[in-house]
């Protein structure tokens, strides 16, 4: 772990938030296998330190967009786990009233402006959120999370270029979990360090240990300060690992066993717990208490969601247009 100025209170918050995400995702996997979450899921166990570290430096006015592997990012912004569970289960109390689903969790009241199911598509939108902030002379920033695979799609390059030319306050944060769906990065990408792609756009590019929540935090804090000062965007590549497979029941068997074992041994939550014990003198009992409390919150959220009614069929036609009556052709 990076030596960092971190109070015990902050550490407990970061630790608890990472645990909530871990327990949330574990529970989603169970719900999926029980058929209570339909279609697909893309889980982020192992990547919690990236979103929690990054979002821990954001203020209420800051905005965030993320990917279809976005449950963690949304929860890291403080979105209600019960409303997130409800959305995944297609309930009327879901974040998006059952119209989004696992890949589209969104809660603008928490600054979570969208989860994108098209690889890279959130990055151009992040620019617009940041542009609006600049236009209003506000000093807020927008964080855009995306995966390593997204750095090979056109939207990534168009977005970084425009952000640099317009000096937009965007923090492009790549959650590099080494696999684009089923393919290892080396099979799809001709460079090893994705942070180097920042050079093409004249912006700072930094690679950080994405399993070190404090390292992520300090990198994002510095990038946010630059953006708030009008110095434009940054690219941060956070090296991390997806403990599970790509989606659904994928066990990720295409990955070498020794690689998986090495990364599991670097679990970001366990590592941070050890660091808290060593550096902040937080006892084992204290950590266990935080784990129990996080788990209780997540299970209670799950139960609350499960009790909610299914999204109402009568709402099928609502929420499409905000200001215009559009009659259907099919009458």
């Amino acid at each position: 772990m990076q030596a960092a100025d971190c109070s015990a209170d902050l550490a407990r918050t970061l630790y608890s938030r990472m645990l909530e995400i871990r327990y949330f995702e574990d529970e989603v996997q169970r719900l999926f296998f029980r058929g209570l979450v339909r279609a697909t899921t893309h889980l982020c166990q192992g990547q919690e330190a990236v979103t929690v570290g990054a979002c821990s430096v954001l203020g209420a006015a800051d905005t965030m967009v993320c990917t279809y592997r976005g449950h963690g990012a949304v929860l890291a912004r403080g979105v209600s786990p019960a409303a997130a569970f409800a959305e995944l289960m297609g309930r009327s109390t879901g974040l998006c009233r059952g119209k989004g689903g696992s890949m589209h969790l969104m809660d603008v009241t928490a600054g979570a402006y969208g989860s994108f199911a098209i690889v890279g598509a959130g990055l151009p939108v992040a620019n617009g959120l940041a542009w609006a902030a600049r236009y209003a002379r506000a000093d807020s920033v927008c964080v855009a999370f995306f995966g390593d695979g997204a750095t090979n799609i056109g939207a990534f390059h168009e977005a970084l270029n425009l952000a640099a030319v317009w000096r937009l306050p965007v923090l492009f944060i790549c959650e590099n979990n080494l696999y684009g769906e089923y393919s290892p990065m080396r099979a799809t990408t001709p460079i090893d360090r994705l942070a180097d792609r920042a050079v093409s756009y004249g912006m700072p590019g930094e690679q950080v240990d994405g399993n070190d929540v404090l390292a992520v935090r300090s990198s994002v804090e510095a990038a946010a300060a630059r953006s708030r000062a009008g110095e434009g965007p940054s690219l941060i590549e956070a090296l991390t690992y997806r403990h599970g497979g790509h989606s659904r029941g994928d066990a990720g068997k295409y990955r070498p066993e020794e690689e998986v074992a090495a990364w599991l041994a670097r679990d970001p939550i366990e590592a941070f717990g050890r660091w808290m014990s060593a550096e902040l003198d937080v006892g084992d009992g204290d950590l266990a208490g935080l784990r129990d409390a996080a788990q209780r919150r997540i299970l209670a959220a799950r139960d609350e969601a499960a009790e909610a009614p299914a999204a109402a069929a009568g709402d099928l036609h609502t929420d499409l247009y905000a200001s215009t009556e559009v009659r259907s052709w099919a009458r």
Partner: protein, 354 residues
């Protein structure tokens, strides 16, 4: 009243809305000091400054994405995509993001954004600079689509588009930019979903817009000389669509012809013909018909392009056939195969029980 080009109408509408609302900002390629490749934003950079009239790189995904994000955060961006063909580069941002954002959010957000683009043939720009984008996006719920045909319609519809809290595609026709018309000097708006009756008539309802509408108006004059009274209706917006005005006309005339600058498959004309057949069958004296463009890309050579576009004489001939009248002098007779969708077999009113 004063004369104004369709091009200047764009500039006027944008300037009026920017004067009215500081949240309105423009972005696009070359729209700033250069005034746009069609000069539709000429002078706006000098008048409103670089913060509100922003040049972008040649990056259509980035342009539309920036407009989406800005709209989410409370701006009312108007993005120019230059040629409508370039919407293909931004298809994901338009069809997957902009159109679905509000619905997928369960109504959390509003997207008050306008995308302008110049489509249409007639100027010899060839297959990748002459397309209309309406058929691409007609089947994507969540978008509003306006197709202004005149300077007045452009002003009224573009201003309304900017004020709506929904994403709007304003599809301009590049061949109309230099066309001058009388336009009211005072400010006005035109609501979406309200078709315009361009010419009153009793024998046939001719629904059309933009360049095709100008040809249809000329054809209607020729037809009048033959004693045929065509009612011309311009839908103005495809989404929302004014069913009532068209239905009232078809009930009166018993005949529908759509003239459009689009191939028949997947077009608004085909959709309207199906709707009229399904809902007004008992009022019809003949099958609803669509005259579009041949199912080949827009060609380059003038001799080919004029053959491709639905022109005055072809419209006249088509109407005469629908009415069972002999062709005009010099008309070659039946339509060659593959040119839009030809007249349908007569059915409907005469066969309905009284």
């Amino acid at each position: 009243m004063g004369e104004m080009t369709y091009r200047a109408a764009v500039t006027r509408a944008l300037a009026e809305e920017m004067d009215r609302d500081p949240a309105v900002a423009l972005l696009g390629e070359d729209i700033g000091p250069a005034g746009g490749v069609f000069k539709a934003t000429d002078g706006l950079f000098d008048r409103f400054g670089g913060d509100r009239v922003r040049d972008t790189p040649i990056s259509e995904q980035a342009i539309v994405g920036a407009a989406i994000g800005a709209a989410l955060a409370g701006l009312r961006p108007v993005a120019e995509l230059m040629f409508a063909d370039f919407a293909g580069v931004a298809f994901d941002q338009i069809a997957n993001q902009m159109a679905k954002y509000r619905y997928m959010s369960g109504g959390q957000v509003r997207l008050p954004l306008t995308l302008r683009m110049a489509g249409g043939a007639g100027l010899g720009f060839g297959a990748q600079h002459s397309q209309q984008a309406d058929s691409w996006f007609l089947g994507v719920p969540g978008l509003l689509i306006a197709m202004p045909s005149t300077a007045s319609d452009l002003i009224g519809l573009l201003k309304t588009a900017i004020r709506l809290d929904d994403p709007v595609l304003v599809l301009e026709h590049k061949a109309l930019y230099p066309v001058k018309e009388d336009v009211a000097a005072e400010e006005f708006l035109i609501p979406f979903g309200q078709a315009g009756i361009v010419r009153a008539g009793s024998d046939l309802t001719l629904v059309t817009s933009q360049l095709a509408r100008r040809e249809a108006e000329a054809a209607a004059a020729d037809l009048a000389a033959r004693g045929v009274s065509a009612e011309i209706i311009d839908p103005r917006t495809l989404v929302p669509f004014d069913f009532d005005t068209i239905a009232a006309s078809v009930r009166k005339t018993g005949r529908l012809l759509v003239v459009q600058e689009a191939v028949f498959p997947g077009s608004w004309g085909a959709t309207l013909a199906a709707w009229v057949a399904g809902n007004l069958f008992g009022s019809l004296a003949c099958g609803p018909s669509v005259l579009g463009v041949p199912e080949v890309p827009a060609p380059f050579a003038a001799s080919l392009e004029s053959e491709w576009l639905p022109g005055r004489d072809r419209i006249t001939a088509h109407v005469l056939r629908l009415l069972g009248l002999p062709p005009a002098e010099g008309d070659a007779g039946p339509e060659p195969a593959g040119r839009g969708a030809g007249p349908q077999p007569v059915t409907g009113r005469e066969q309905q029980p009284a």
